[in-house]
Symmetry: C2
Subunit: 385 residues, 2 copies
């Protein structure tokens, strides 16, 4: 039995439903951010991120900063690219486009390759771009929360490392870390930025990231100081190193409560092999996609190989509108999200199936959601054609 | 009786001890950041900030952003000053110096007036600086957490508005908002940046700020876009306006749990007149200062008119070291902070007396702390000379 009050089940692509123990950690009594106990918790949390990101390279560097997933873009754009340097952005939706905006704000010269709506840029055009121009970074959104499109990171990183080995490979893993396979060392990644409130299962408020030794070297070798204060990795680096070495350190006050919640969430994740976690998300996703297809509905990510296992973006039937279906779902205790894509925003809904909702069969969240979707569509007079 | 487990009493100058109801709000079940319920809570919280900052000017604009107090400096430096424009920074310690650093990072041409250690820059030199040069902003740390020095804002703002009316008056209120009198409209302020974890009594993780219509006009009239993404007030402005109008909106995911906790903390604050709250902080501070004097100890902020009511920075006796006295205090259930000032860091300790510890006599936090301080010093063989 959950200790949480009865509430509609939140199945948007983040924030997700949280485990009781994680929410209890949010109410931790007040501690100094430089106390021995809290420093130990923060240090342990940073070290656990290495496991979560699957890196054993001591030169890789985790960061946890008060903020949101968006702040991760600023970290990359302000620290790893200097004004006038080239960035190649692979976009699969709203979040790829926004990452490009962020890079431009800091002066990067951005080339953006767009997938078709519901698809992704393909390797040949990416390789051609990397051959035609020299790029300081390539960024890719692992799962674009606006479309549910999954990017294939392993082969992409291999191609970049072959065609343009000096280009840093940066993954926006906001909607993928802790639910999609992502092997930092094995795949040769240089940066993964994420947030707590999606598959990691920690309330929003933290920017969480991992950078390779190569990325940290690029930071060190910058010609100019990063033109940001709060998002300066140079300022945060000694703080993160000190915390992980269990030494108190100060640049800006972290949130002890959020760090405790993240610590609890990561310990829960580490109780089982990551491979098992990823597999369960695949199974739940397959079940959702099949049920959606059985309802006669189309998925925004058209091709199976482009479909994330974190969430499903579902086209509504022609005569069913978002303002009709979402309240009907809510009346059945289920919360989905509306669309978030400039071209198709009014035409689809988003169903997040991450974390406890995917992993804990006793919650029955997924089956209840699928039943609610079917019932809500029936109430909208939708019949499978 | 508190529902929190027994723990040492945190009396550093933030984070402070938190009320049970605030901590319980931190464990709020998961909500979508665009759900009607959460939007209503966020909107109400923004509106309550207007009361807290004592502004009724509809052109004034509150912001609540995931981050820390430090992020408030980025808001000012990246949004209200353009590269090459002049900023006059009044420094009374570590935090004034750091605000100057932040302004420089974004290209401001900074002139810094330093008070003597434990003191503050005086009006004649400030007026002279404002007469000699044209400044886009003047920044002042209301209470510098490193020294416990209080700046006198009302007469300062009046002087600036007289001598250099086009200069925006920006107050770093991290360690003053909700414990020191600060009248946004009446004093003619243009910006106050703060954080949750000090006198407001909400766990760390939020940057909280208020800007005047004049400041918002300066933002609107910038020649160039702010060179920041996450800290761009232009990007956050419509979000804050929408939330306060109870309309869902998205730029980056806020932390529903922290917003709930802030909402609870602000409601508690608004239950009583602010003047009563400020007066109680004065009384507690006077008691602490008197007890410290009775122990034969000196206060870093030497002159009574320079002493904050939020905290007291206390010089240790010559033969007593921080690593001796803090563990002895901890053994008695009291946590103070060490020094944080480049010149005197090893010579003093900091005692925060804000929020519930100052306002709730049943906790007995202040008397217990003063007794613990006396006992710890006695164990260090200190005798009043």
């Amino acid at each position: 039995m959950s200790s949480q009050p009865a509430h509609p089940t939140l199945l948007v692509p983040g924030p997700i439903e949280f485990d009781d123990a994680v929410l209890q950690s949010m109410g931790h009594y007040s501690e100094s951010h430089v106390s021995a106990n809290f420093v130990a918790t923060f240090g342990e949390t940073l070290s656990m991120l290495r496991q979560l990101f699957q890196t054993t390279d001591p030169a890789a560097q985790p960061f946890i900063i008060n903020g949101s997933g968006t702040l991760g873009w600023d970290l990359v754009a302000a620290n790893l690219v200097e004004p006038g340097e080239n960035a190649l952005v692979l976009s699969t939706g709203y979040f790829g486009d926004a990452f490009a905006d962020c890079l431009r704000v800091y002066g990067a010269n951005v080339t953006k390759l767009d997938g078709p709506v519901g698809g992704r840029p393909q390797l040949p055009e990416i390789e051609k771009a990397l051959t035609d121009n020299k790029y300081k970074v390539l960024t890719v959104t692992h799962v674009d929360t606006s479309t549910g499109v999954l990017s294939e990171i392993e082969s992409l990183a291999a191609a970049v490392n072959k065609v343009s080995p000096e280009t840093l490979v940066i993954v926006d893993g906001v909607c993928s870390v802790a639910c999609e396979e992502l092997a930092f060392d094995a795949w040769g990644l240089d940066g993964v930025v994420t947030a707590g409130q999606k598959a990691i299962g920690c309330p929003a408020g933290l920017s969480i990231s991992m950078f390779s030794g190569r990325a940290m070297k690029a930071l060190e070798n910058r010609k100019k100081e990063p033109a940001t204060y709060f998002a300066s990795m140079r300022r945060w680096l000694p703080i993160m190193q000190n915390y992980e070495a269990k030494k108190p350190s100060y640049f800006a006050t972290p949130s002890p409560q959020l760090i405790h919640a993240l610590n609890t969430a990561l310990k829960q994740i580490m109780e089982r092999p990551l491979s098992e976690r990823f597999q369960k998300h695949i199974e739940v996703s397959d079940k959702v996609k099949k049920a959606v297809g059985d309802l006669g509905l189309k998925i925004v990510a058209a091709k199976p190989e482009d479909q994330s296992h974190a969430m499903t973006a579902i086209y509504l039937p022609d005569k069913v509108a978002i303002p009709d279906v979402l309240p009907k779902l809510l009346s059945k205790g289920i919360i989905f999200a509306g669309g978030l894509h400039k071209e198709i925003g009014t035409k689809y809904i988003r169903f997040g199936h991450m974390g406890v909702s995917a992993l804990d069969p006793e919650r029955n969240d997924i089956d209840r959601a699928l039943e609610a979707l079917q019932a809500a569509l029936a109430e909208c007079d939708y019949q499978k054609s």
